[in-house]
């Protein structure tokens, strides 16, 4: 793996489009106490009782078709400019038909699968990296390639690691 020069990744790190949606529920089964359950001890009804909601389930948010979705671990730096880092978890939904410019997981000739950007041309497909240090893979017309869409990238942010933050 070739180390990346800092200017190239800086914009990636400095740019964030994150918006706060709501508190996330990561460990749903543990969360069985609901607000109305506390009423007796509090002495008066919770004003939020009529507005009770379940919280946001990350599985439901990221995964639309559970039986067809499989997780893969990203390894390598060729997709850095697409926001995929070494160690990220990729959710692959095999029921989604890949289109031109989709993030895809591809495998061919018995190789280990790889993550790239799909380019659909007139008579063949190409797999492009998102890093100028890597070259695109060009297939001949009629080559047999299994291509599946990536529908989510999951990364757990941990403290104390410099550049690469590894999801666990």
């Amino acid at each position: 793996m070739v180390p990346i020069s800092p200017p190239m990744i800086r914009p990636l790190i400095n740019t964030t489009y994150a918006l706060l949606l709501a508190p996330a529920v990561l460990d749903a089964p543990a969360c069985f106490l609901r607000t109305s359950g506390m009423r007796a001890e509090l002495g008066f009804p919770s004003p939020a009782e009529d507005h009770e909601e379940e919280g946001i389930d990350l599985n439901a948010l990221l995964i639309r078709n559970a039986p067809a979705t499989f997780l893969y671990r990203a390894s390598g730096d060729s997709m850095l400019l697409a926001g995929i880092r070494d160690g990220d978890i990729l959710a692959v939904d095999r029921s989604v038909m890949p289109r031109d410019r989709d993030l895809v997981l591809a495998s061919w000739d018995g190789n280990a699968p790889c993550c790239k950007v799909l380019h659909v041309l007139d008579d063949h497909i190409e797999l492009h990296p998102a890093n100028p240090r890597h070259a695109p893979i060009v297939f001949e017309a009629g080559a047999e390639v299994d291509v599946f869409s990536i529908v989510a990238v999951v990364r757990q942010v941990t403290r104390g690691v410099r550049t690469y933050v590894r999801a666990r």
Binding site: P29, A30, F70, S78, R94, S107, A112, P129
Partner: protein, 416 residues
């Protein structure tokens, strides 16, 4: 109208989904303990690998042909099966899970069955990567027959049309009919009945008289009269068996006892998962039958509980009592097991004058089950099982693939 959906060489296909280097190659999956072949791809079949082929013979064959072998990875197969069932249930809500890789669907309300089946087959292949075949027929036996014939290359076969059916049944050997074993097929062949059409058209009083009601029912089903309905709910099991061969002969009787305790613990978990209680426990042990020159000893003992239970502590206490003098000095054991019998739903039991209907601490057990569900099997348990990560009686699994879909550490890699 029924359909039978069945994954081709299911265990092998599961391995091939995640290891593309195995695709299109001869591949054999071995049973627990790497004992014998339990699944093989067509390419392996062509090299002469049979179902139940003993592993030591396979190694010679492997030296000749160089095929790949995998230890059974039931965590993976179970998860892939669950995904397949989920897809099927969404497509056809009335269905019966017949085995880990086969399900019957009720297609009565489906207008265009052939298109439906072709789409479904395509969907399973695309969504989970498992190649499969579908047979359709007015009875379960005919759906199964259609599936058998679909395996020969067409993928989907609909036997609902009587003319198509007659021709198809002619090409199906009696031994390949659902419910006709090898013994029966030999007997049928003696009467000149060699294919399914001949069995269908044989005089039914002869079949009833010579082969009994079960064969007669199979004949009725071949004629298109549905006699076997869809079992949407799994019937209550009559017994739960947990038994296993050890990776090697075990002379240390403490270790054999720990194996029996572990199996009893596992059986209790299965019992509770089905919300059942048992009234009797049998423990078994076997020496190595394949070494007749060694001293042999294969004891079994049964304990009858005063009150039905699913509590691991109660069951382990019973097992401990049974183990007293159970194993013979100087014998090395190769296999052990537990059988739980007389299973019932706790509400269906009545207390008698001297004992309550059930005993045990259900709160403690429910807590333990929840801990194990959350932190993984084996997180909480009983000290009597020995609690070792790799006990001497453990399984031999020399070619085990990762648990790709059920363990975070085993997630497959995508090169970037």
């Amino acid at each position: 109208m029924f359909a039978l959906v069945d994954g081709n060489a299911f265990y092998c296909s599961c391995e091939q989904v995640f290891d593309s280097s195995l695709r299109g190659k001869p591949l054999v999956v071995l049973s627990n303990n790497d004992g014998c072949a339990i699944a093989r791809t067509d390419q392996a079949k062509a090299l002469g690998v049979k179902m139940g082929h003993p592993a030591h013979e396979l190694r010679d064959l492997q030296a000749q042909h160089g095929f790949r072998m995998r230890s059974a990875n039931f965590a993976l197969y179970g998860d892939m099966s669950r995904r397949m069932v989920e897809i099927l249930r969404e497509a056809a809500p009335r269905m019966e899970v017949y085995s880990i890789d086969e399900s019957f669907l009720d297609l009565t309300d489906v207008a265009n069955r052939l298109t439906f089946a072709r789409d479904l087959r395509e969907r399973i292949t695309r969504w989970i990567g498992i190649p499969n075949c579908i047979g359709i027929g007015p009875t379960k036996t005919l759906a199964k027959a259609g599936n058998k014939l679909a395996k020969k290359g067409r993928g989907v076969i609909d036997l609902s049309d009587p003319t198509v059916r007659t021709e198809a049944l002619e090409s199906l050997a009696v031994g390949d009919i659902w419910g006709v074993g090898r013994r029966w097929s030999a007997k049928l062949e003696c009467l000149g009945i060699t294919n399914a059409r001949q069995l269908r058209d044989a005089p039914s009083d002869l079949i009833l008289q010579r082969f009994g009601v079960v064969m007669h029912r199979t004949q009725r089903e071949l004629q298109g009269h549905s006699c076997i309905g869809l079992q949407e709910v799994e019937p209550d099991r009559q017994q739960i068996v947990v038994s296993r061969s050890f990776g090697e002969r075990v002379e240390d009787h403490e270790a054999v006892a720990q194996a029996i305790f572990s199996f009893a613990e596992r059986a209790c978990q299965k019992l509770r998962a089905r919300r059942l209680v048992c009234s009797a426990l049998t423990i078994t042990a076997e020496s190595d039958r394949f070494r007749p020159n060694l001293p042999q000893h294969s004891p079994a003992r049964t304990y009858q509980f005063t009150s039905a239970t699913s509590d691991t502590t109660v069951v382990l206490n019973a097992a401990r009592r049974l183990l007293n003098g159970f194993l013979k000095v100087g014998i090395a054991y190769k296999r052990a097991g537990v059988v739980m019998m007389d299973l019932a739903q706790p509400d269906a039991l009545q207390a008698d004058l001297f004992a309550q209907a059930t005993e045990g601490n259900s709160v403690l057990m429910a807590t333990m089950d929840r801990i194990n569900a959350r932190f993984g099997r084996g997180a909480a348990g009983m000290g009597a099982t020995g609690w070792q990560p790799r006990p001497v009686w453990g399984m031999r699994q020399s070619n085990l693939s990762p648990r790709y879909t059920t363990r975070v550490a085993d997630i497959p890699t995508a090169r970037c």
